[in-house]
Amino acid sequence: MASDEVVEVEKLDRDFKYEIAKEPGSEKIMHCFQCGTCTAACPVSAKKESFNPRRIIHMALMGMREEVLGDEFVWYCSGCYACQERCPQGVNITYLMTAIRNIAYRSGKGLPAYREVVKKIAAKGWLNEIGEFDNEMRQKMGLPIIEQKSDEPDKVLKASGAKKLSGGE
């Protein structure tokens, strides 16, 4: 959302922070006192202003559920932990970003690219396929041939519910 828009109180979902706090590692979201250490430490914020962890947490605490889950900025966390390692309140910010993304997928949102990642791993057992050509190259370099097996990763992806979230059965 644009920063000049007025926040409409009646559209806020005040339970959003509790929804996030239930996710693993995100229990301490309400400890945030908005100091901005996270944003100062963030290597992505330095390059892309719209990614601002402090602001995302503030929006979440206010209950701006639709804006947080619907905007592209939550996908810009690179997962480097620079914020989490420095947070004076012990908020696990990197885990929190994962939690928000998980909630987005469960709400039928979320970036399509990562759904494809899950589908690929379900099909091959690995993110990258190792084909005949790769194995030939491996042999030339004196490396053992790899036979990829997919059935077990597929099974656990089904059991975790991720396959369904990604549009598989």
Partner: protein, 297 residues
Amino acid sequence: MAGNGMKYAFFLGCTTPVRVMQYEAATRKVAAKLGIELVDLPDFGCCGFPTEKVSHDAFLALAARNLAVAEEKGLDVCTMCTACAGALTKVVHELKDEKKRKHINEMIKSTGRQVKGTVKVYHISRVLFEKVGIEKLKAAITKPMNMLSIAPHEGCHYTAPHEIFDGFDDPIRPKTLKALIEATGAKVVDYMNYRQCCGGDLLAVGEQTPTDMVHEKFDNVKRSGADAMVLQCPFCDIMYDEFQKTVEEKYGTEYKIPVLFLPQLIGMAMGMGQKELGLTKNAVKTKGLCEKAGVQK
């Protein structure tokens, strides 16, 4: 797991064995020379890291399945990728909680495996630092690399989040990679903002931001006067080695910074040749660097 010396289940990960085979080749050669036994287990699969954005449960289950495979063999795990090391270490940590352990075992039940969380996970650099040790590593160096200045890049998941690595290194001021580079005789150079993340995880979202991040990194490395960067993660390598030309074209600059994996540098210092260490496979040419360091073909 105790009592198995330096013998590990070798967890290749998804990226190294297909995109940066030279890292795997150099790791196997250097490990063999230092008495580290790496056992290939064909039942390993994706570590789970790439699925965590969609589902934390998927991440837990995929990682735990791999841990169960290693447990059955009674072997600790050694990885080359910092993301794999981070993901698997995180889940070993999670398995200490009985409730979580039950939940995770429920998810992997259909594979016929169960997991206890008794194995320990090491990145290869951690094996070199903690198990081989700096003194023994130094003793194995026959061709000190003291003509080289190196810009180190640890990779974020090598040390963070700190609570899962039981005190191994410091995420804000890490020391172990620097110590390992210095053991080869090379000089470690400081450069501005050296803990900056490679941004590789953002490529799926858009190229602009990670390109800007990498561009800044190269500027800082170039100004440090380093002969090369040394890394220990295939994702960082894609950003700094494979992607370097793209960044040069996009910004109209020329960096030509050779990017080595730590085991390649160690191998050079042990007198191994360019071909043996896969140095000819690196995207940015390493020929000039090898000439300076007197590395045979």
